[in-house]
Symmetry: C2
Subunit: 214 residues, 2 copies
Amino acid sequence: MSTAAETTGGDIEPWEEVTPDAARRLLVAAVEAFAERGYHATTTRDIAGRAGMSPAALYIHYKTKEELLHRISRIGHDRALGILRTAARGEGSATERLADAVSSFVRWHAGRRTTARVVQYELDALGPEARAEIVALRRQCDAEVRGIIEEGMASGEFEVRDVQGTTLAVLSLCIDVARWFNVNGPRTPDEVGALYADLVLRMVGAEDAGAAQR
Amino acid sequence: MSTAAETTGGDIEPWEEVTPDAARRLLVAAVEAFAERGYHATTTRDIAGRAGMSPAALYIHYKTKEELLHRISRIGHDRALGILRTAARGEGSATERLADAVSSFVRWHAGRRTTARVVQYELDALGPEARAEIVALRRQCDAEVRGIIEEGMASGEFEVRDVQGTTLAVLSLCIDVARWFNVNGPRTPDEVGALYADLVLRMVGAEDAGAAQR
DNA sequence: GCCGAAGGTGAGCGAGCGCTTAGAGCGCCC
DNA sequence: GGGCGCTCTAAGCGCTCGCTCACCTTCGGC
């Protein structure tokens, strides 16, 4: 899985669930603009311009600018949760599953950095009801990671003092990748994913911390 | 140092270097507003209102709204760098100094969360020259932490595969505390600081990871 | 070939933005 | 005690924002 032939260059997104085509183009344009300048600093004219349309076209497909952010956030969180869930419910020891979860989650935050940035840092721009929906998805992400750590504790693979605090730290470490990762920097998403998987296994006291990279 | 009697409740800030009094009140109001809603979503009317003044009063003490952010960011980064530098250049083994650096850095991000949030997440709102100045301070923060890890490697206390990558991860972990920490949550800044110091010592392969908490 | 729905445009509305200006209040030194 | 400098306010300027509206084009079904 760590050698998956995904196209990370240019940050191409699989937004195929968004139809029609014009709505998808607007959404992709919004992701880029929100990631670059933030939700509040992005204008509807900028989004429409990037999609090659007039400002009014946006309102044929979306009721408000906030609905665009909501759709992006919803799809992004579904994707992030799916990644963690796949890893958590896979086969193998807790050590292997935690390494898989961290490396794939980090790879997503690095490779799909623009999406991840919007998903992780623009939550406060949503209204109360939309935010509540997204917060529920985040809690499920937390539960997936906590589940792996608890299983590792039960099997004797891991040893941590504070399961919830460590879970928070692991997720926090992965999420912050979206803040600092540079596509033109020295590291590929795969490399960061492997490094972080190793660091996290050390954090939970897994004995064969170096084994997962092989 | 981990039992320092600092006032974390209410997030009281030591902005005594900002004079006169009205300028300080405006700056504190701006920190709160920026932390709550973000720089772009905050209006000058909101800042002035929180400080109990009219919108025009802001422009007596600051040329623009951006200058306010710049001053906040500058002072905040100076403070953050000071914390890391004090820990890095203190006495004791690399293990002790790294634990000290992480716990005090985390304590600052949790206890002074509003300031830290502005400092760490509103960098992009600055203009090019102001941003360049701040980025230089960040690089110094990185150098301080990397220095401790390198010394720990040289003395045999630590064992990491990628010093720069691990440095980045350690700083990233600490910084992200400002995103998720909740003043009304179950953990105090001291507790998070102690937990994170332990986690970081595990990350760098320090043998007595549990010792620093005593 | 005509029609209605779907998708698009240009112009522009009301509101709120960052910021400016004219002038008022007030303490302080000569 | 009068002039001056510092601080602050009320009013508002010019601009851009999110969003709307009247109208235009394209195209499949009959």
